[in-house]
Symmetry: C2
Amino acid sequence: MPLADYFPIWDKLTPAQQNKMARSVCQKSFQKNTMIHNDSMDCMGLLLVSTGQLRAYILSDEGREITIYRLFDMDICLFSASCIMHSIQFAITIEAEKDSNVLVIPPEVYHQIMEESAPLANYTNEIMASRFSDVMWLIEQIMWKSFDKRLAAFLLEETALEETNSLKITHEIIGNHLGTAREVVTRMLRYFQNEGMVKLSRGSIEVTNINKLKKLHNP
Amino acid sequence: MPLADYFPIWDKLTPAQQNKMARSVCQKSFQKNTMIHNDSMDCMGLLLVSTGQLRAYILSDEGREITIYRLFDMDICLFSASCIMHSIQFAITIEAEKDSNVLVIPPEVYHQIMEESAPLANYTNEIMASRFSDVMWLIEQIMWKSFDKRLAAFLLEETALEETNSLKITHEIIGNHLGTAREVVTRMLRYFQNEGMVKLSRGSIEVTNINKLKKLHNP
């Protein structure tokens, strides 16, 4: 996958910057469950996900985890290169959740180009703002966590009522049931899908792990 | 207060960029408890705090609040200009917590200069990373919230033991008592100070709102 496909602003880099990045990039493969980055490891660089799935999470002293976000094909992992930005002062752990192929841009190369290229700096800003938004969403869910439980309850009730794990129902209708915007339902269902509880397809929601859903509803 | 004092990268802007920003800036005063920004208001622009204190918080549908961070003299408020970055997709509310004077840079002016200036884009990035770090810290506190309660309990116990609200004790010693790094104690004490529960000075901690501390310890 050429670098240009990862960076919509690729054409706004100078030929020298493009060459520098292209020459420095290397490919790495990680087996499922490999730890890719944590606070005690060296700064690896910027990761571009070619195939597979990465998970970013934080870890308490007692070993409890919270998933912050997941990264899929074509996603850029900024926090494996936290050494690039001094103001990132939190410890995040990144692991391969499936067998993954990634491209790695060394931190010093990325940093140098970002220092001189406003388009790359602004694009990096957008990635960070997007992850920031994910995290703010997570805080709201955690603090006012009724909605994930209410949605789990609703799905469990529907599967019992319809006597099938494959529900034909739109996100909008669920939103109407639960007094919530369609977007909120979609986002939470995607989160459930990431957690392996449901599988989404056009016009239907398949419950794939009913026990996990029950546990969420009634921990 | 000249703009150069807010932006350490001011000298790296071109004279044209400096002039554009300086010409566009305006001064505003907000009385204590004024709502400055929320999701339904127009994008005001970038706020630079001259004097006073702003509070950024999120709000649940039921009206519950969580303080995300506070802004003091010389701080830059990025999220009052969330229209500058499309990827910021969360609603934050900003209010004046004290009578405040702020400088306002119109969003389109800031956006234009950031688009062409790598130093300004990178500096904006650093501000965002720093706020991101605050929010990650908050998540950890919320999820694994034993420490704020433990610290509140410790301070209450000490005031009872010493029969004074003015404790002569270092953050390091508290850390030793609670099995935590000094930095963590300092950060939490500053949070308590922001919340009006204690007042910090060199070598001492004054408990200023014992009821609030008790409520935190045993809600």
